[in-house]
Structures are given as C-alpha cells and as structure tokens.
Symmetry: C2
Subunit: 339 residues, 2 copies
C-alpha cells in the first residue's frame, strides 16, 4: 500500500492530521504524548507495523495472575492491565488457571524464577478467605512488589483495588424494588470468597433497609452458567420474582432456568447480572447488569504497582470502585405491577 | 467445612466414589491417570486447595503469544492451550497484544530472555503475509521450538495448525444457497492476513461452483464489530440477502447494521459468523456460525510442541482442521422463499 494511503488511514483512525502522523512515524519532537500514543494505537489497530525506530525495549516484566479466561470479564481485566503496563514500558506475562492445570503458586514460582519486577493478582487466592496466604508473605520477604484486585484480604498487606460489593448490591436491590419486586433473591458463588461475602452482606443490608426483610433468600452455588441455573431454580421455588446474580454467566444460566420452566425474563422473572462482560449487551434479552469499572481499576492498579517497582511506597490501602447499573432488557415490572 | 462433606462434593463433581477421591488426595496408587485428573479438576472447580503432596513443580515455561483478548475466541484458545500445557507439566506464560501496547517482537524478546522452552503463536505475525518473518528465523537459529496456529506461512518452517478456510466457506455458502439465497456476500478482515486470503479464495470458488458467479461481492474491513457494520452496509447496498462474516464480532456488527436500516435478521438478511465464540449462543438472534475446533487444535499444537521440546522432530507440516456449521437463529429462508 502506498505511503500516502497509509498516512491518511492512520490519520483518520487517530483523529489527527497526516502531518502529525508523519511527525510521529519519523520520531520528530513537538507531538503531545497522548497524540503520539493515539497514532501508535491507530497503526496497531489498522495492522501496520511500527517503524523500527519506534520499537522500544521493554523495561521489565510484570506477572499477571488471573483465575481463568472462561468468564469473559477476566480477559477484559487482562487486556486493560496489559495495555497500561505496556504504556509504562513493562512487558506483561499472564498466568491463568484452568481446572486441573497449573496452580497459582506454580505461576508465582515461575514468575519469581524469571525475575519479574512485580505481580498483579486478579481474583487470586487472596480473594479466598480460607486459602493459605503464605505465598504472599514469601513475595513480601523477597521484596517483590505486588497488588491485588477484587478481594481485599486483611491478612495480605498490599494495595488492593476492589469493587464496592455492598453498595453494588444496594443499587441492584433499589432498582428491582422500584419496579415493584418484593420477592428478590441473591444467587452467587462460594461463600469462602471475599467478594461473595461482600455481596451477601450488602444484599442483606439493603433488603433489610429497603424492604424490612431480615432473612432474604440467598443461594450460594458457583460463578458459572450451571451455578446460575441451579441457584435460580432454588430461588424460584422460594417464590422470587427477581434474582440478583453474582456474575453475568450466572445471570445467563438463571435466564435459561426461567425459560426451562415455561416462564419469560423479564415478564415473569427479572434478572440482574454482574460484571457487564464484553458482548453481554448482545444477549437475548440484553442483560441488565452491574458494570465493573474495569478500565479505571486496571489503570489505578498498574500506576500503583509501577510506582512501587520504581521505589515508591506500598500504600496498604483498599481503593473501592463503584459499579454502575446498566439497565437493559432483563429487568421489568414485577408480575401484577404492569398496567 | 468437614472433610466428609468435601469428599462427597468432589466425588459428585468428578463422578467417582468418595473412596477414589480419598485415594487420589492421599497420593495412593491404583487410580487411572484420567480419573486422577478428573478428581484434581473437580477439586479446582469447587475451589478447594490441592494437598501439598499433589503440587508438582512445573517442568518448564512455554510462551504463548495471542494477538488480543477482545475477540472472545482468543481467550478460548489461550485457556485450552494452557490446560494442555499444564497437563504436560509446563507453565504457560501468555503475551497478548493491545493497540498501542507491547509488540509481538517485544514478547519474543522477553520470553527468550526468560528462557522459555518453546513458544506457541496464535494468529501472530506469521499470519500476516506482509510481515517481516525475521523473528521466527531468530528462534530457529537459537533452536527454540515453536508452532504456529491459524495462518500457515510458507516462509516459516514450523508445524502449523490451521482452519481449512476454503472448505469452511464452502460449507457456509452451501447452507445459504440451500435456504434460497443467491445474493451472498463475504465480509472479512484485511487481505494481508493469510486466513483472510483463504476465506476469500474459498468463498469465490464456492460461489462459482454453487451459483456460477465469477465475481461475488467481497468486502475487506476489520475483524471487529465496527468492521462488520461497515462491510454489511456495503454488501446490503449491493443487494445481498445473506452475509458470511470472517468473525463472530463482525457478524454481530452486521446484525446491528441490518437493524439500523429497519430490517430484521434473519427475515430480511441472513448472517453467518465464524469462530463460535463463548457466549455467542446467547445472542439475539442466536448466531449461526462456523465453529473453530479450538480444543482439538490446541491439543494437537501442544502435543507437537512438547514432543519438539523433548527432542522430537519438528514436522514441517500443516494440519488442517475442519470447522462445523452450527445452525442457530441468524440464518433463514431468502426473502420471497418463505411459504
């Protein structure tokens, strides 16, 4: 393809002039860093190779541990973390877990052996209230900086970046209550996980405050389609007309279960997901869900880790992020509330 | 939780007796390897930690390079490859690319520096007919085994595991033709990619053979939602009643475009995706798509790489995998063909 065409393509994609693209490609000064990044991103997006002179050696390696990639929210975390790490000059190496596969400690061993500069844990063992946290102590002893995301464990003295699970449940309950629902149940994962505990507390608090129910229906299964089906079945048996789910996968499973009983979502049963996973807006019905602010969470975690790697302090704080309620088509008026 | 409960849970999940679970957990002999793995997988799935004695040190590190995680088929490849690598005792380290982030060569540098035993490339630069393949020659010179997936490049002498793109297009065209469609268009990504070239050849061959059309409508945009919208607009302008897409994301974009014109899929326009990404069965309408046999492809690639790492030969062959047509709700009779 002619150079001219390429400049025009990239300029259009980046929303800048061809002169600016040319300056960036030739490594000339006088271009704002943000603009430079937009041009490089456009180049990558359109599938062009970067000129040799713009290829920078990575400063170091950062390990990234995520539990599994089958829940689509985890690839989204990985992608955003990798983008921000790369912007800071670090090459991310990702370890993910699969049933029967390598364990988190094997990844930590491999990463430490390979001299990573730091590690980011997303929903790792740190989020499991019953897990052995000795691995994290080892990292501290070796002076390897790390941060944890989603699941703040008081036993692990590291910066934590988490969802405000309690407020998120309050937002979901208020939404359903405003639609006239009073029989609302919570379907979530195993109680041993710290985010699950936060959701359960938040749900019960909100149901007590909003609906004066001291013991609302709560079912713990697994954060999967199958877990959602099983939990929804138990909640429908208890007369629920609305189900708040701990993950989008659980919500899709809950909708399957509703249909398998000859009912419709949202006409007979409203369902709220959690995560706002990629592509979830395309489901039938489009899922109402609590959106995790994945990008800002990842940006904060990476900025903090990079600062620690570069000698800054390790703030032992928990940064809480508030999810947004994204109302789509899986929630509606309670049966009997429709005009 | 009591040991008894845990044994029962795991036994139920694994479909074996509690006595078998107990044998596995205590590292006793007399359990088939397949059963042992099923028990470990059940343990992981249910979120229990493995007993210390079952924690094996990983034999080595294998690099895995995937282009990005926003297309949900790539996390699926990563997950299956990681599972099979872990079964073989290797710890996978994943490098993914994001626009503006680290490049494939930075990952290769980082992986080589960290002494990986081998590398698996999924839809990497090898799949780009115009890319510099010097990086692969360097790996060969350093005697680092590698295999490539999706995009067989004759300039790269490595075992290749790819989709039979040509036959896949023939299957899609036959399906649409059998529904009465004669104005069928192909919406796919940039022509520089080897899989795209295969799809274009396969589509044209099939349209010539099935419908005696020498020059059927083909539009090259990007393998994204936006690319699908743009391509579908151009194909509808050419009178197409059916669109074969190069990815599921493109197909979802095509359906958006169809609706933005006040038309319906499949009533007015049929759309076929490609990949059968996770969750794609939940879209509205459920997407008819060509399923990439991700699991068998990953198993073959890992088995071959591990054999190369362990001193076996590097077969310079291309293994082709045939996708399956999964008919769901986005394809239907051509307008005018309905009873």
């Amino acid at each position: 393809m002619a150079l001219r065409t390429r400049l025009t393509d990239v300029a259009e994609q980046a929303g800048v002039s061809t002169a600016t693209v040319s300056r960036v490609l030739n490594g000339k000064p006088g271009v704002a860093e943000e603009t430079r990044r937009a041009v490089l991103a456009a180049l990558d997006l359109l599938g062009y190779e970067r000129p040799d002179k713009l290829r920078t050696k990575a400063a170091g390696l950062v390990g990234l541990v995520v539990p599994e990639l089958t829940n689509p929210v985890f690839p989204a975390f990985a992608q955003h973390i990798e983008t921000h790490l790369a912007e800071a000059g670090y090459t991310p190496l990702l370890g993910t877990q699969a049933p029967g596969g390598a364990t988190e400690e094997q990844y930590i061993d491999a990463m430490v052996e390979r001299h990573v500069d730091g590690i980011i844990f997303v929903s790792g063992l740190h989020a499991d209230s019953r897990a052995d946290t000795a691995w994290y102590d080892r990292l501290l002893a070796m002076d390897i900086p790390f941060v944890v995301m989603n699941g703040t464990n008081p036993r692990i003295p590291a910066p934590a970046f988490s969802i405000d699970e309690r407020r998120s449940m309050d937002i979901a309950v208020r939404h359903l209550h405003s639609l006239g629902h009073t029989r609302i149940g919570l379907a979530t994962g195993q109680e041993r996980y710290i985010p699950t505990q936060g959701k359960m507390r938040g749900f019960r608090d909100s149901m007590r405050r909003q609906l004066e129910q001291a013991d609302p229906p709560v079912v713990n299964t697994l954060f999967t389609l199958e877990g959602g089906r099983a939990a929804a079945g138990m909640l429908l048996d208890q007369g629920c007309t609305a189900i708040v789910c701990g993950s989008d996968l659980m919500a899709l499973g809950a909708i399957q279960l509703v249909r398998s009983r000859g009912l419709q979502a949202p006409d007979d049963v409203s369902v709220v997901g959690f995560d706002d996973s990629p592509l979830i807006a395309f489901t039938d019905p489009p899922l109402t869900t609590m959106r995790q602010p994945v990008e800002p969470m990842c940006r904060s975690a990476v900025t903090t880790l990079v600062s620690m790697i570069e000698g800054g302090p390790a703030p032992r704080t928990e940064i809480l992020f508030l999810p947004e309620l994204i109302v789509r088509g899986s929630t509606g008026p309670a049966p009997g509330e429709r005009a």
